[in-house]
């Protein structure tokens, strides 16, 4: 039997180093029974997850600053366990720069971009945010769903910011091949395999195509279940060292480069 499934069935944690590079606080419109930061940390404790990098769900709208404040509070409540992505909303070039610098000064570890707001990632208002990420070598997490236009925009940013790790969230939710092509063109890109459906074989196919060294694990907690999202990696059949790279090794490298790993 799969050793991690066996451990879970015995009530034991996986016993691996794990960092969740895609997590949230806040809420969408549908029900999640316990959205509290405490419930996320409790889940992390059960699974042996060292740290989770969270963005507030209000990064999707013009109330992003409220969300950043909440994330900052969570970071202070759980130092080293909860890391922060600045939710970047395109208020305007100057305001974006001011907001990003403010929150990075508070110890946030990366930037989160979401195009649910209807504004493309290459909108001029975002320019300073991209430039700061490149200059400080901090990760940029982009919500993606495999569309040609979306990946084209992110690709332009990845090319212009070669020193910033570019994380493609929900890689493989649609258009698996398009993600593989993207990775061939952009050496600073990472596939973030967060996706509710956990398609059988997807993690393995990505690792075979681009290498485990270019993948990170995320769960989408507090929306999705962290244990369920871990299962897709445990069931992938990858060698242990590859799993370990996906689950934490690459994340630690990214965070270390950003100066945030020491706390994780």
């Amino acid at each position: 039997m799969n050793q991690f499934v066996e451990k879970a069935l015995a009530g034991l944690p996986p016993g691996l180093d794990i960092i969740d590079m895609h997590a949230h606080v806040g809420c969408f419109s549908y029900t999640v029974p316990d959205r509290s930061v405490g419930s996320i940390v409790a889940s992390m404790d059960r699974l042996g997850i060292a740290a989770a990098a969270v963005a507030h769900i209000r990064c999707t709208n013009a109330d992003a600053e409220y969300g950043n404040e909440i994330v900052c509070n969570a970071m202070q409540e759980y130092p080293g366990r909860i890391l922060g992505y600045v939710g970047v909303f395109p208020y305007g070039r100057t305001e974006v720069r001011r907001n990003v610098e403010r929150w990075l000064g508070e110890g946030f570890s990366g930037l989160k971009f979401h195009d649910m707001n209807g504004i493309p990632y290459n909108h001029p208002s975002y320019a300073h945010a991209h430039a700061i990420a490149n200059e400080r070598r901090i990760p940029m997490l982009f919500h993606t769903w495999g569309t040609e236009k979306q990946l084209d925009h992110v690709g332009r940013i990845a090319s212009a910011c070669p020193d910033a790790p570019v994380l493609l969230a929900h890689a493989g939710a649609e258009a698996e091949e398009r993600y593989v092509d993207f990775m061939k063109k952009h050496p600073n890109a990472f596939l973030d395999v967060t996706y509710s459906r956990s398609p059988r074989g997807l993690v393995r196919r990505f690792a075979d195509a681009v290498g485990a060294a270019r993948m990170v694990w995320g769960s989408d907690v507090n929306v999705l279940n962290q244990a369920q999202q871990l299962g897709k990696v445990f069931g992938s059949g990858l060698p242990l060292e590859d799993m370990q790279m996906i689950l934490a090794g690459n994340a630690r490298r990214i965070l270390e480069q950003a100066g945030a790993a020491s706390s994780a």
């Binding site: 039997m1 074989g201 299962g231």
Partner: protein, 248 residues
């Protein structure tokens, strides 16, 4: 802990794939995840249009493996071109079925009393559980048929992580509805919340194989903070009871 998968299949293919999912793949996956039994459908179902052929292959494939319980497709004989609903139910039971699958959108029917009442009447008479996918039978329809046939158990699968607000009252109002926690039910804190609401007896372990990675569903159940008794009921006990009741 025993695991009995309520939501899995094999033997079919799907658009974009070049081969059918073999029963051996299912068995291997069950071994990898410690799954000791499975209610098996012909899946993925989108390209499987010959119900009679599919059911015969399913029965043949399950026969050599005690741990595989077939869940064949049934279709209303509303146009008079199929065996009667009673005959379909009897054939299913004669071939060891633990439940049957209704898939209106694939088999081109709709859930309306004037069309499918004879089918659900026949299934209720045989106490043969019905597997329904939320992608084909929405919550309104599920509630309506659960209310009309209250002695007929339903296995409701293919649920979404956005469904919690509808799922909890569905289960609370219709004790004959049982929900699979297989793909795409992936709610943070969702399982323990439903158990705390007293709904553990209506929850079933399921994986979503072959589309989804089974270890994901095992992890969800194994790592949720619920009592061992509730976990075991969800893992296998509830489905074992449903299947054992088929035909009785």
């Amino acid at each position: 802990m025993d695991l009995f998968d309520a939501q899995c299949g094999a033997l079919a293919t799907e658009p974009g794939r070049t081969r059918r999912v073999a029963v051996d793949e299912l068995l291997q996956s069950m071994d990898d995840c410690g799954i000791t039994g499975a209610l098996v459908r012909v899946a993925p179902g989108t390209l499987e249009t010959d119900v009679d052929l599919a059911n015969r292959r399913l029965f043949d494939a399950c026969k050599p493996h005690d741990q595989l319980i077939p869940c064949p497709v049934v279709v209303p004989n509303s146009a008079g071109d199929l065996p009667s609903e009673e005959q379909q139910a009897a054939d299913a039971l004669a071939n060891g079925a633990g439940a049957v699958w209704v898939r209106p959108s694939i088999d081109d029917w709709i859930v309306a009393d004037w069309l499918c009442a004879p089918l659900f009447d026949a299934l209720e008479a045989k106490h043969l559980p019905v597997f329904a996918d939320a992608g084909m039978i929405d919550f309104h329809t599920m509630a309506a048929i659960a209310a009309k046939w209250p002695r007929l158990p339903f296995i409701y699968a293919g649920l979404h992580y956005r469904d919690q607000r509808k799922l909890v009252p569905l289960l609370r109002n219709f004790p004959n509805v049982h929900a699979s926690i297989g793909s795409n039910y992936t709610v943070h804190s969702g399982l323990e919340h439903m158990v705390a609401q007293g709904l553990a007896k209506q929850l079933l372990f399921g994986t979503g194989f072959p589309e989804s990675e089974p270890a994901a569903a095992v992890m969800l159940l194994a790592c949720s903070p619920v009592s061992d008794a509730d976990r075991q009921a969800i893992a296998a006990g509830n489905l074992v009871s449903l299947v054992a009741g088929a035909g009785r």
